[in-house]
């Protein structure tokens, strides 16, 4: 049964891809308009910084277009594992990069290029008057954090443990953007998000620094992907991220140096 299904699935897939490739040439194929496309899979928190670096890369590399796929790191690594055409992978944590290297799908050794720490975010008027991590233990306030299954949630747990505080969240969200959404809409009195998220959100939230979070750094690794058809370009993009220019863009967005 299993084999029969797999065969049928494979057959359908082949037919589908064959049908598609007739009028849609492979994006990495440097034919047609003579352009090359570099596909970068990057953690959602890197969106604004990497888009800026992408533009800079396109300027310095004539005829190259940089396409981004921004999503949660675990989604991205799952896509690469199932054969998505990525040239570069930048993860928000080392655990997901480890999944890539465990399958031997990295083209270059992963290098750390940024760090991120947690901060408390409250609505601009801070209705529950939250000042510190201890305040978050108060069951009266509406606290929203990431679920322990995702990187920001794991970090939240570590920060709380390190400080000896028991958090009582009203909701454990799937991603840091969901937490931020609950805070900006005023549903939550406070949330734990990354420093970079607070900066991106601007006036929509108030950030409260967490001295306790300094010990829980989230490190971002980057690597080229093994099956990349543009290995040299992929490496050039990684080099740009690690260069002074790349580090400056990331610092402006609130990331720390590894």
């Amino acid at each position: 049964m299993k084999r029969w299904c797999t065969t049928l699935a494979a057959l359908l897939l082949v037919t589908a891809t064959a049908a598609c490739s007739d009028d849609d040439p492979d994006s990495a194929d440097p034919g047609g308009d003579g352009g090359t496309t570099l596909t970068v899979f990057a953690a959602a928190s890197l969106t604004s910084s990497f888009e800026q670096l992408g533009e800079s890369f396109e300027k310095s590399h004539e005829g190259v277009q940089v396409d981004f796929n921004f999503a949660g790191s675990s989604d991205l690594v799952a896509q690469v594992q199932s054969g998505a055409p990525a040239d570069v992978f930048a993860s928000a944590d080392e655990a997901n990069m480890d999944k890539l290297t465990a399958d031997d799908l990295q083209g270059s050794d992963p290098e750390l290029f940024a760090t991120n720490t947690l901060e408390i975010a409250t609505p601009p008027d801070n209705p529950a008057d939250v000042q510190s991590l201890e305040d978050l233990a108060n069951p009266e306030i509406n606290l929203v954090i990431c679920a322990p299954e995702v990187p920001c949630g794991a970090a939240s747990q570590s920060v709380a443990e390190a400080a000896g505080v028991t958090l009582e969240p009203d909701s454990e969200e799937q991603s840091v953007t969901d937490v931020l959404g609950k805070v900006t809409s005023g549903e939550a009195d406070a949330g734990l998000v990354y420093v970079t998220d607070v900066i991106t959100a601007g006036d929509a939230v108030q950030g409260i620094e967490l001295p306790e979070s300094a010990s829980v750094l989230n490190s971002y690794p980057i690597a080229t992907v093994a099956d990349s058809e543009n290995a040299d370009l992929a490496q050039a993009f990684v080099d740009l991220v690690l260069s002074d220019e790349g580090q400056q863009v990331l610092a402006d967005a609130g990331f720390g140096r590894p």
Binding site: S74, A147, V150, P169, E173, Q174, S185, E187
Partner: protein, 263 residues
């Protein structure tokens, strides 16, 4: 297939796209079944978080279905049995959640019943808090499931026509008696299938719930949310729970078919 009558036969080529369609629907389900880790299946679906998610899903979907019946039946009757200016437009609006992405429904609910929403302060004054409560889950599910009941029932009402109602009224029955003794029994199959569809839709609700209600074990984390979260770390558990949801859905549909033939 061999039993198709000569005189009313369908074109033979039509079986090809029909079979392709069936494969398209069934193959992904079969593929999922091949990925189930049967050895640990029972363990995975009976973990505390899984059980709580399943129970919460069944509980909230049942309440949402009842809510859909309570407000959906009058809506369908008004749409099917009365005429007023702008009715067509109103009907389209009522059916909107059917075509709206659920996450948009969640945002709309947030800006209505959220703490800073249109009615948020009023609700706050009354001493309720909808945010992050099971009530919010039920509201999200009712919002997306309601059109299914209204559409099914309105169709049934139109098909049934007004003949029996007119006769009952001419014999002296008051409108409420006609509604209770004639209209409802007449359209009961339509009502049942509408309610089952609403239940199924509520059971699968994800987008509006995660946007409006949040996600906390035992309070707001329904089975679809649990599956989505588990996928992050434990793909086996996600697949096992998906299968549970498929089985529940199949049982619900089977029940609906049984119910329809029995009625």
């Amino acid at each position: 297939m061999a039993r198709v009558h000569r005189d009313v036969g369908v074109p033979s080529w039509i079986f090809v796209p029909a079979a392709a369609g069936a494969v398209f629907v069934l193959l992904p389900l079969a593929a999922m079944v091949t990925r189930v880790e049967w050895g640990s299946f029972f363990e995975l679906i009976t973990s505390e978080s899984s059980r709580e998610a399943l129970l919460l899903s069944l509980k909230t979907s049942t309440i949402s279905t009842l809510a859909c019946i309570v407000i959906g039946v009058p809506m369908a009757v008004v749409l099917a049995r009365t005429e007023f200016p702008g009715q067509g437009f109103l009907r389209s609006l009522v059916l909107l959640p059917l075509v709206l992405p659920p996450v948009v429904g969640g945002i709309a609910l947030l800006y209505t019943f959220g703490r800073r929403g249109l009615l948020g302060e009023t609700i706050d004054v009354l001493g309720f808090q909808i945010a992050f409560s099971t009530t919010a889950v039920v509201m999200a599910q009712t919002f997306v499931a309601l059109p299914f009941l209204v559409v099914s029932l309105e169709g049934a009402l139109r098909t049934a026509g007004r003949r029996y109602e007119v006769v009952a009224a001419s014999l002296g029955a008051r409108p409420t008696t006609v509604f209770r003794r004639v209209t409802i029994p007449l359209v009961l199959p339509g009502l049942v299938s509408g309610a089952v569809l609403s239940f199924a839709r509520a059971l699968g609700e994800f987008g509006a719930t995660i946007t409006f209600a949040g996600s906390l074990q035992g309070v707001t984390r329904t089975l679809p949310l649990e599956i989505y979260l588990r996928r992050e770390t434990d793909a086996d558990a996600a697949v096992a729970l998906s299968l549970v949801l498929v089985v529940v859905a199949v049982v619900v549909i089977g029940f609906a078919r049984q119910g329809r033939t029995a009625l």
